[in-house]
């Protein structure tokens, strides 16, 4: 017996090694691309954030100076970028997310055919990025009286002269939020919808026997707990989508910085410092802050919907 196991052991461990090798071959192409285009850039951003780097000379180490400057010396960052980013991120992120859940829930109350058509309409704006569609919004919000919105408001007598919407300090951010919400019912929305549709019907019937009285209770006590994983996926997609789409202000107004910094978000601030002022170290520090903000938002989502207690 022992002899048999001994002789078997060696080829077996060799087989395991062989299997591992095959597994590594399967993941290798992905890992390689992932490392080059995601891991290294993130590490590089972190390292660069502690340097002064003008893209010409070799980066020189300056410790936390960039971060200190962001916090103490960057008036635009503190007075415009942060408030704008927060307002934009909270309305588009959690706001858009709640909206996508409610829409998915309402859609799930309808029959298959109607639901498919309406879901397609709601999803289709996200097929293009809001930025690609900037042309469309630029015509709707055009600043002269040929703009659709101006022309409607003028004919209704609500305004006396055309409003220059996209160059306006008061309206640009709001328009950015509307445009982004328009195109934000994407993958997350579909995931939540698919999740709701796959909740076991018997749970609802059991719920009504147990005393659930109305649709709202049903949503709160059965639907949401049953689709927590999809809710989490949707939340992460909403957060990432929010920050990824924040080039919209520049696309709409046609300039970076945006007029009077009205639509300046952290992403635009990064690009302004990186590509216009060539302060790469400073831009990198801003990038690290952005990644941290996204991470924090996502942590909150994991706390709310995660199944593991992390």
């Amino acid at each position: 017996m022992t002899e048999a196991t001994l002789t078997l052991k060696k080829p077996k461990s060799k087989a395991i090694k062989e299997k591992q090798k095959i597994a590594y071959l399967f993941v290798f192409p992905y890992v390689l691309m992932f490392t080059i285009f995601i891991v290294i850039p993130v590490i590089a951003a972190i390292l660069l954030s502690f340097t002064y780097f003008d893209a010409v000379r070799f980066p020189s180490w300056i410790g936390f100076e960039n971060y200190i400057n962001i916090m103490t010396n960057d008036e635009v960052f503190m007075q415009n970028v942060i408030p704008n980013t927060l307002k934009y991120a909270i309305i588009v992120g959690p706001g858009g997310y709640i909206l996508s859940f409610l829409l998915a829930w309402v859609l799930s109350q309808l029959t298959h055919k109607i639901r498919t058509v309406l879901a397609l309409i709601i999803y289709s704006p996200s097929l293009t990025s809001g930025i690609t569609m900037a042309v469309l919004w630029r015509v709707i919000f055009a600043g002269d009286n040929s703009g659709y919105l101006n022309s409607i408001l003028l004919s209704l007598g609500l305004i006396v002269e055309p409003v220059i919407w996209l160059q306006s300090k008061d309206f640009l951010l709001t328009i950015m939020i509307i445009v982004t919400l328009w195109s934000s019912m994407g993958v997350g929305f579909l995931a939540i919808l698919a999740g709701i549709l796959n909740v076991n019907q018997e749970l609802y019937e059991a719920g009504y026997i147990d005393g659930i009285k109305n649709k709202f209770q049903e949503m709160l006590y059965i639907t949401i707990p049953s689709i927590k994983p999809q809710m989490l996926f949707g939340a992460v997609m909403a957060i990432v989508g929010t920050f990824s789409s924040s080039g919209i202000g520049v696309a709409l107004s046609g300039s970076n910085p945006t007029p009077q910094y009205a639509g300046q978000l952290i992403v635009n601030h990064i690009e302004y410092y990186g590509f216009n002022k060539y302060e790469m170290g400073y831009a990198a520090a801003l990038s690290v802050l952005l990644l941290l903000i996204v991470y924090l938002f996502s942590r909150i989502a994991f706390k709310l919907f995660g199944s593991k207690d992390e």
Binding site: V42, A44, A45, H112, S124, L136, Y204, I270
Partner: protein, 293 residues
């Protein structure tokens, strides 16, 4: 599915219409209109003849549709003298390459992460879940520096390579492979199939819905992306249609340009829509497994 007729009005995913559903339609109408109107506008605008573009006050619906905007769009050449068809062709090749390559590498990795055993598997899964939160736009600058170091500036493949590792894509594939019973794989191992055969003969056919989904997601990202052309490409011959579109729309203050820009937007948008409509049931199937546990 069994019918519970007394439950019909109030349950989710009802199988037939009930008057109680009207209130949901009423709630949805303004939302659907808000989503739909801009798309209808693009559609109408793209087919307007020149004089209708000049109408004041502007009219929403096209009266005498024409293809003039499209023909002008295809005839116009940029300041560099490069015909638009060149950009269009570039985009087609880039998109095709990204789709094939990203499907291949993410399904391979997804299979290994789900069904094979190797050291570092758990960590790789965790890193990938973490990188779902990755916002690419945040690291534009370090990415640029790396692309520059690799000598990929003005290289055609810079359109392709950064889009191959998509954490969301890998995540969806892996979740979907998880649904395939291990017995199926073990059985074919017993029959003497190697891992590559299992991957091509069993896994790939079974995860078609997930593949359709990442095809759509990659298509959207690549087809719509002007960023690579703006950031990494100086040679106009290598730029893409999305980039051309963006320069066109950025410079359209004239009314005639608006018609062309709308036509270009429509060309950008329609392929996305058609692919999604064709594949939508597969996407919903994949999304049902999308939860993060």
């Amino acid at each position: 599915m069994k019918k519970h007729s007394k439950f019909q009005g109030t349950k989710i995913n009802p199988s037939r219409f009930h008057p109680s559903q009207i209130r949901y339609l009423i709630i949805l109408t303004p939302v659907v209109l808000f989503m739909l109107l801009p798309l209808l506008y693009i559609f109408n605008h793209a087919f307007k003849p020149l004089e209708e573009l000049f109408y004041y006050p502007p009219r929403f619906i096209v009266e005498r549709p024409t293809l003039a905007n499209f023909t002008r769009l295809f005839q116009v050449t940029g300041t560099s003298g490069i015909p638009m068809s060149r950009y269009f062709f570039n985009s087609l090749i880039v998109t095709a390459l990204v789709l094939v390559a990203s499907v291949l590498i993410s399904t391979m990795a997804g299979y290994a992460l789900s069904k094979l055993n190797f050291k570092g598997k758990k960590m790789m899964n965790e890193v990938n879940t973490l990188s779902l939160m990755f916002v690419g736009i945040a690291v534009t600058i370090p990415r640029y520096l790396i692309v520059e170091r690799l000598g990929l500036i003005d290289n055609f493949f810079v359109h392709v390579l950064p889009y191959l590792a998509v954490p969301v894509g890998l995540f969806l594939i892996k979740q979907f492979v998880d649904q395939i019973p291990n017995e199926l794989i073990d059985a074919s191992r017993v029959d003497g199939a190697n891992e590559w055969q299992i991957y091509t003969k069993i896994i790939l056919p079974l995860i078609k819905p997930a593949i359709a989904t990442i095809v759509i997601l990659s298509f959207q990202t690549v087809w719509n992306s002007a960023d690579t052309s703006t950031t990494y490409i100086n040679n106009d011959l290598l730029k893409t249609f999305a980039f051309y579109m963006n320069t066109l729309t950025a410079n359209t203050n004239g009314v005639a340009g608006q018609g062309m820009a709308a036509a270009a937007s429509l060309i950008m948008f329609l392929p996305n829509l058609i692919i999604f409509i064709v594949m939508q049931s597969k996407v919903m199937d994949t999304m049902a497994h999308s939860g993060i546990k």
